[in-house]
């Protein structure tokens, strides 16, 4: 049993995910406008028990980067204010690149919370780099405070861990991008605290776990277009 409302055990994570799937109808092919809660399925490691995660595949718009006169790829203004339109590919009339985003919600044993992993591939099946990821509609740029990018990570100034970085998917072992879960427990503590003040199911019951995970999705949705 989790010792706090800000974290989960692995068993609770699995219970929450399965309750989540039971509640929200499965849609095999989420549309471009899929909401947070649609299209998720549960997957497990083929041989080792107790290792499961949520996954789904969604289409994304990207913007095909074109070289400028110097032959350098131009990164358009992606770190803009709240007026920035979430779908940059359509906003400025550039021809969109159709991309595929594979998303996972897996348990982080270090931080004892769910973590969001994803890969994005272009129509040829090649993985796209960070610059192109920033050009897709996946990340809500207005929610990303001043960030610095390298080719392999997105940093917030003075933050301990990068906001977005590469790592091995904890179940498949394949390289993925991940939204670092280090700040999740702190944020969840606040959100769950507020909810509990307003009345929640019995702590650690199946219903409570479902509300916990739905709250987590809402929190993630501030940063990621799900």
């Amino acid at each position: 049993m989790s010792s706090s409302s800000s974290t989960l055990t692995r068993v609770q994570f699995e219970q929450a995910c399965k309750a989540f799937i039971d509640k929200h109808a499965r849609s095999p092919l989420p549309s471009m406008g899929a909401t947070t809660l649609e299209g998720w399925s549960w997957a497990e490691h083929p041989t080792v028990p107790g290792l499961g995660y949520l996954f789904r595949t969604v289409p994304l718009h990207g913007r095909a980067l074109a070289p400028d006169k110097n032959g350098d790829f131009v990164q358009e203004n992606v770190l803009q204010s709240a007026e920035f339109v979430d779908d940059p590919a359509i906003a400025d009339g550039a021809s969109p690149e159709f991309l595929t985003c594979e998303q996972s919600i897996a348990f982080s044993p270090t931080f004892q919370v769910p973590a969001f992993y994803f890969t994005i591939h272009d129509s040829r099946g090649s993985p796209v780099g960070l610059e192109e990821i920033m050009n897709t509609s996946l990340l809500r740029h207005h929610a990303l405070p001043e960030t610095q990018t390298t080719s392999f990570a997105l940093f917030q100034r003075d933050a301990l861990f990068p906001l977005l970085s590469q790592g091995d998917h904890p179940i498949s072992g394949l390289p993925s991008w991940l939204i670092h879960p280090c700040g999740t427990a702190c944020a969840m503590s606040e959100l769950i605290g507020e909810k509990m003040a307003g009345g929640m199911p019995e702590v650690c019951s199946k219903e409570w776990l479902l509300v916990w995970l739905e709250t987590w999705f809402l929190m993630l949705g501030n940063m990621v277009q799900l």
Binding site: P109, F152, L160, P162, Q166
Partner: protein, 398 residues
């Protein structure tokens, strides 16, 4: 386990005095593995000195493939490539593959890669199940172009490697203490100094900083044990300070030992691993039990201990406990009528006793402690698959 006036202590083959810990840390640090790196013959540029494109080196276990690139590049420039090829080679497109075609990960320490390969090699059909791994060179193929970006992290740079390394240090800090204050308490120059220590393979430079964030192997002092039950002359009731303050930096005080189990074909298993199991008993830490076998010393030690109050509540969590928890089929819990264990553990290529305490292992230097599990007797059991398990401890370095 022997009792000592109603107090259990767990014998350990390891002492945990600071001097011996430093010795073990240095031994692990200086571990190396032989590598044979051969450029893919199909990718050798024209006019290369064919036949010379093989480079042998003894690489530190605690280092990383990206840190070897410059040395390999110098060799290729000096010996193999002609001027044109040397000028145009792009090491950012380089990638490594094992003999069997396994893609090698940039962010895995070389020791982990080596042990992974050894385990996979000995698990092939026809390999002797009881053979210990031999120190044969790990043969790697170096490709110069077209990295498989869907299976490899995109940026095989030393900078990306450093970031992954620092991230693991911080995660280990968080696992141990529930926060990262020890890491964030380091100045940036100190943090960078740890990576420089890895790059230059300098033990002193690395440990000058690492010692500030790695737990000690000295026992914690969480409080007083119950009064001794026996009046044997070899025991003395400890006059413990009932409000004894735990050694806050002790490996026995951590929330969880940073430890991972690497299955050879994946996945990586990780969960919370407390250093002490709360089972109601009281224990002496291994430092005491190891030295108290000599009865002449034990009395003296007991006298010293009465004021040191080195007892702690619970029994130390051991490697055997952890393995039987996570891999019960390979490591059945001991007891009467228990099935035999089907594998054994290797740490940095050395057989690790099952009773090794996780706390002590977790305070060793280890960027990664790679504990490999090899199957033991398979003839009596018809195993469909023989699993080999790597237990990697990310204790303080990675």
């Amino acid at each position: 386990m022997s009792t000592f006036g109603g107090i259990r202590h767990s014998p350990s083959t390891f002492t945990s005095s600071p001097a011996s810990t430093t010795l073990f840390r240095r031994l692990v640090w200086e571990g190396t593995v032989p590598l044979e790196i051969r450029v893919d013959s199909k990718e050798l540029p024209a006019n290369s000195n064919r036949g010379l494109e093989c480079y042998f080196l003894q690489a530190p276990r605690v280092s990383y493939l990206p840190l070897l690139i410059s040395e390999i590049k110098r060799f290729l420039q000096d010996v193999v490539f002609d001027d044109e090829a040397a000028r145009t080679m792009k090491e950012e497109d380089w990638w490594f593959e094992s003999e069997e075609g396994h893609l090698l990960k940039w962010h895995w320490p070389i020791g982990l890669i080596y042990d992974n390969h050894t385990t996979l090699a000995t698990s092939r059909p026809g390999a002797s199940a009881s053979s210990r791994p031999q120190a044969v060179p790990l043969r790697l193929t170096l490709h110069l172009a077209s990295p498989p970006t869907d299976r490899l992290l995109l940026a095989p740079s030393a900078e990306a490697c450093k970031q992954a390394f620092m991230g693991q240090l911080k995660e280990a800090d968080f696992l141990r203490w529930g926060n990262t204050k020890r890491m964030t308490g380091l100045r940036k120059a100190e943090q960078d100094g740890m990576w420089e220590g890895i790059k230059e393979h300098n033990f002193d430079d690395y440990w000058r900083v690492a010692s500030k964030v790695t737990p000690t192997t000295l026992p914690a002092r969480p409080g007083s044990p119950p009064a001794a039950q026996s009046s044997s002359m070899h025991t003395r009731p400890p006059s413990a300070d009932p409000q004894g303050t735990p050694d806050k930096d002790s490996a026995y005080s951590v929330r969880s030992v940073p430890i991972r189990l690497y299955l050879p074909e994946g996945p990586v298993l990780q969960d919370l691993a407390p250093p002490v199991l709360e089972d109601g008993g009281w224990s002496l830490p291994s430092i005491i039990s190891a030295q108290s076998r000599d009865p002449r010393i034990s009395l003296l030690l007991m006298h010293l201990l009465t004021t040191a109050s080195c007892y702690y509540k619970g029994t130390p969590n051991t490697l055997a406990d952890l393995l039987s928890l996570h891999l019960p089929l390979l490591f059945p819990a001991p007891g009467p009528g228990a099935s035999p264990t089907l594998a054994y553990a290797l740490l940095q290529g050395v057989v690790t006793p099952a009773e090794a305490e996780l706390a002590w292992l977790g305070a060793l230097p280890s960027i990664n402690q790679d504990v490999w599990i090899h199957p033991t007797v398979l003839r009596a059991v018809d195993m469909v698959t023989s699993l080999r398990v790597t237990v990697a401890l990310m204790a303080g370095m990675q």
